[in-house]
Amino acid sequence: MDLLNRYLQAVKFWLPSSQQDDIAAELSEDIRSQIEEREAALGRKLNDGDLEQILKQRGRPLLVAEKYMPPKALIGPVLFPAYWFVLRLVLVCYLVPWVAVWIAFMILDTSYRAQHSGIAIFRDAYVLWMIALTAFTVVTIVFAVLERVRDQSWLLDQWSPRQLPPVRDVEQISRFGSAVELIFGLLFFGIWWLKILWSPTVFDSSGVRVTLATGTKGFLFAVFLWSFLLLGCANIALSAVNLVRPYWTRFRRGLRASLNFVAAIILLLIAKTHAGLVVSGTSVPQDKAPEISLYLSLSLGMAFLIAAIVCVVVGCVDIWRILSSSRKHTQLNHHLAV
């Protein structure tokens, strides 16, 4: 019976202390009844091997104890879909950009690559891992606290079908979005960007003057003027067509994807040139001007980098939508043929 007592002790270990003795006594009685019945059938006392077989059949102590516990979850079924949604949001909008920016720096910035190669790469990986772990932990703790402190009946009862968002058609283009793109395109390419290329002044107001460094201006003018002009015109034309015909076609999606990929390449090339800005003016302290100029130039490079990543993501989404609509079309044709 030593095996039986050891088994009962192991089961008791996992049970809440208020119920340990009661459950163990009933379990012990049930197993003893089974032993008696088996002994009567065999006509002899059970040996340790027989008892071991009976206990193994009952299952691991932890699993046996678990069946007596009330169902417990860190995050229950009501909040879990929202928790999962937030985790995915954090992954896509927070963690992926971190990794993308790090990869872009490693590829494009030779000085950064030199400082972060070799053993230092493990330090970067550790930092990225800690960022991911912190984000995951914070989201999980927030939802676990909500699970315990908040009455969730409002999630189940207080809703109306009228509050649900309208049916989304992924092929429908928002006219508002097209109008914004058109205005932004005209302002950005027609006025700001071309002005920068024709004149070295980026900003000049309240005694602060920001200009492109001489070498930078010449380089940008020579290499990127026409590509940006063409890209800008194509984007403006696409937005105008989308405004008039607000429904995606494969051609227009493909065109937008191509424009975004081309824009990403140009933006990455600009970021790689380390476009320089010079800050001057009466309101800027002379001794601080070089430091501010450097900071602004780095920020500009970072902005180009982020813009390039956004372009790649938008382009990939368009390609994915084209492929998925083709697949659906093929499946529909196949079903119709069948």
Partner: protein
């Protein structure tokens, strides 16, 4: 059909079978405990009538039903051993009556549905 598909179907069938039986188990336990019994004999009785249930399912269920006030239990000595005897309570009898009516209603509906789709027993 491949071996993998067979295994998949077997496991699916087993899950569905367990799900179907789980609903009936409360009914069977309450009905069996119209006569006082302890856990082991209850399990044997159910198994003899074709409703095998493992102890890991039965004992937690008995505790839950007792907490809900549908069963009453007491420790008593029998054959020189302490055993916990369960019996249906007054509330339990009421619930059993209602559940039986529900069960018969489900049976009739299912019979009707199966008859319409040509799978009826008659």
């Amino acid at each position: 059909m491949t071996q993998g598909t067979n295994n998949g179907n077997d496991s699916l069938l087993e899950n569905l079978r367990l799900e179907l039986r789980r609903g009936c188990l409360v009914l069977a336990v309450l009905a069996e405990l119209r006569n006082e019994q302890y856990g082991y004999t209850l399990r044997k009785g159910l198994a003899e009538r074709g409703l095998e249930v493992d102890e890991g399912t039965l004992y937690p269920l008995l505790r839950r039903l007792e907490t809900q006030g549908l069963l009453a239990s007491e420790w008593r000595e029998e054959d020189k051993r302490n055993k916990r005897f369960y019996k249906i309570s007054r509330d339990g009898k009421l619930v059993l009556k209602q559940l039986l009516a529900e069960w018969q209603g489900i049976g009739l509906s299912l019979e009707e549905i199966l008859k319409e789709s040509g799978h009826g027993s008659s």
